[in-house]
Structure formats: C-alpha cells, structure tokens
C-alpha cells in the first residue's frame, strides 16, 4: 500500500509551452499537494413534463492547478524562480554559481505528481503551467521558510503514460529562519516573522477549447515583517512618502538567496495591542521609477551550474 510518504513531485521547463516534457527537477513538498482538476458540474435547467428529479448533469467549466509548497532550499530553486520571477536568468560563476532573476516573463512549466493509492503510485501529468502567484513565509516557530507557488495548468493526463519518473533530489542546502537578515534602509532589523508575496500577472480563462493562461496584469511583489517598535523612524518613512532599499538575505555556507530592491512603504502607525512589547508591521511593495531591475531582483547562489 502506498501512502502520502510515497508521493512525489517533479517539474521541468517546457521546451514547447503547453507540451509535457519529462520532468527532471524534484523537490520535497510540504503537504497538502494541491495540484488538481476541479470540474464545475452543471445541471440542465430544462423542464420536462412529469419529471421532478434532475435529468441531466454535465461538465461545465473546469480549472486545473493549485498550490504547492516547498521548504526553501538553495539547489533546484532556480526552476521555481524561473516560473515566478524571470524565465531567463543570468548565470555567472564557476561553483558556486550566481543566478540573477529580474522581473520578466516567466517560463511555462510541467509537473508530474506521484499520487499514492492502495494499488500503486499513479503518475499524473500537468502541463502548460504558469504561476499565478507565489509567497515566501518564515517565522521563528516555523524555522523552515516555505515557498508556495499557486499554479495554473491547462492540461492534465493520468492514463499511466508516461510512467512515474524516478525521483532524484539535489543535495539540498537548506535555509532556516535564523539565517534570514532583513535590511530596511540599510539597517538590519530583528524580526518575529516576515513574508513576501508576488503575483506574475497571469490569470486563467475558461473557453470552449479549455482553460487558457495569459498575462493580464503587471507582476507585483509585496512584503511585510513583524518587528519590535524601536522608534518612529519607519513610520516616518511611510508618512513622508519616502522610498528605501529593502533586502531579505538567506545565507548558508556558500549558498545564498537575496531578494532586494526599492520599496514604497504601506500600512499604518503601530498601535498598542496588549501589555507586551509594541509591535510594528513593516509593509512594503517593491517599485522603482528607474528600472524593473532596481525595483526587484532575486539572486540565488548555489551549486547548480544552470538555474
């Protein structure tokens, strides 16, 4: 019998968008693994004399996709960055390698999920996947930063062909909360938790030919961090409409992941919540009048020779 312990997920960049390519990049995942197909079943509204029960239920619009969460690691994560930030990163170095992602179009991805049942682990293929959004969350209790991608797929296949790929995992370098350094306006800030959330601008539309993905809006990246209120400097930046540099850096050995850019601050003046320390939520959105690269850049340094 197979259980969730036997499940697996692998990805690949599609060489022809929308066409499944053998997966070659495998991640550990944190359940639930949300990739699925949901069909809106529709009842006929027709009235037939002397019938009171529904006499026709058929397929209506369907959607394919869902969220998948991975613990943040250095190796392989380039594929997720290509899916959420920049499909054509610049790679430099000779081990470790630095992959620089600046906001651009994102790659079309396919995935194969190993779905365990009492009889086997069934291969289920998802193709034509675009990330609609992503998030990175981390706090002191969670320890391991969680990277979640919300996928929009266009096709699903579960006829047993191709067979389930042998999962191979990079020798992952893991990042943890204590390695995270948040810098606001060039000053390191001690934090309780933080999150980043991005959108790619992609949405899914259901048409007679099935679900279609297209970019409908500008990509965005927003963040927030809960910190002790040390002074009113942060609020002053917001209230004066002053932008500043913000970066979040994870470093583990020679591997690192840096999200950096220029932000406009959001939110409101901290309030007294209880008898404890006054907490301030630093909220921001990456933006720049200068360039997309100045607004937001992610740099992943790892042992992978290609992102």
């Amino acid at each position: 019998m197979s259980t969730g312990l036997n499940a697996q997920i692998g990805y690949n960049v599609e060489s022809t968008p929308g066409t499944y390519t053998t997966v070659d990049t495998f991640f550990e995942f944190v359940p639930p693994l949300g990739l699925t197909k949901t069909v809106n079943r529709v009842k006929s509204n027709g009235i037939r004399a002397n019938r009171v029960m529904s006499h026709e239920i058929t397929d209506g619009p369907w959607s394919i996709g869902g969220p998948v969460t991975h613990e943040l690691v250095a190796e392989s994560t380039g594929l997720l960055m290509e899916a959420t930030i920049d499909g054509d990163p610049a790679t430099t170095g000779d081990g470790p390698y630095a992959h620089v992602f600046q906001m651009g179009d994102v790659n079309s991805i396919c995935a194969q999920v190993g779905l365990p049942s009492t009889s086997a682990v069934h291969p289920v293929q998802f193709a034509g996947m675009k990330a609609a959004g992503w998030s990175l969350t981390n706090d002191a209790n969670g320890v391991h930063p969680l990277f979640t991608v919300d996928w929009l797929a266009t096709t699903i296949d579960y006829d047993g062909t191709p067979s389930l790929a042998t999962a191979s995992y990079a020798s992952f370098t893991r990042f943890v909360f204590t390695q995270a350094v948040l810098s606001v306006a060039s000053a390191a800030v001690c934090m309780d938790s933080f999150s980043l959330a991005g959108t790619t601008g992609y949405v899914q539309e259901f048409r007679n030919c099935g679900p279609v993905n297209f970019r409908n809006d500008k990509p965005t990246v927003q963040g927030s961090a809960v910190v002790d209120l040390a002074n009113l400097t942060q609020w002053g930046l917001l209230d004066a409409d002053t932008e500043a540099a913000v970066s979040i850096t994870y470093t583990s050995g020679t591997s690192s992941l840096v999200f950096a850019g220029n932000v406009a601050f959001m939110g409101s003046l901290a309030t007294v919540q209880d008898t404890g320390k006054t907490k301030e939520t630093v909220e921001f959105e990456f933006t720049s009048i200068t360039s997309d690269a100045a607004a937001f850049t992610a740099t992943l340094t790892n042992a992978d020779s290609a992102a």
Binding site: D24, G95, Y97, A165, S168, A170, S305
Partner: protein
C-alpha cells in the same frame, strides 16, 4: 543493472532511490528501469560495460608452417 554517470547541473551531486548519493561525475549501477528513467530525464550518461579482451586467434599461416 545499468551503469550510469551523473553529469547534470547539480554539481554537488544528487540522491536517487531515496538515499543513494551520486556525486557529480560519479558512475553508479542502478536497476535497469531506474537507469532508463534517469537517462530519459537528462543529466545522466550511460556507461558501456567494459568487456574483457578476447584471447588472440591462432595465426593461420603459423599453423600451416607447423604442419609442414
């Protein structure tokens, strides 16, 4: 079993079949179905088994001379 060599992008190696580690440039032997799947994924090379050298054939001319 099939001998395969890892030459993929993960220069610090990979784990296969749960916990078998294969470093970059290392050759391992894997069950045929596992090797086939990995070769299809790319980043792996099939390594031909080295066959033992055949014993030299007896020289026909030499044998004729012996008969004479």
């Amino acid at each position: 079993m099939t001998a395969i060599k890892y030459v993929g992008k993960h220069r610090n190696g990979v784990f296969i079949a749960g916990d078998v580690f294969c470093d970059y440039g290392q050759t391992i032997e894997a069950p045929d179905d596992v090797a086939a799947s990995l070769l299809e994924q790319g980043g792996w090379e099939s390594i031909e088994a080295v066959k033992p050298p055949k014993p030299p054939k007896a020289d026909k001319a030499d044998s004729n001379e012996t008969e004479a």
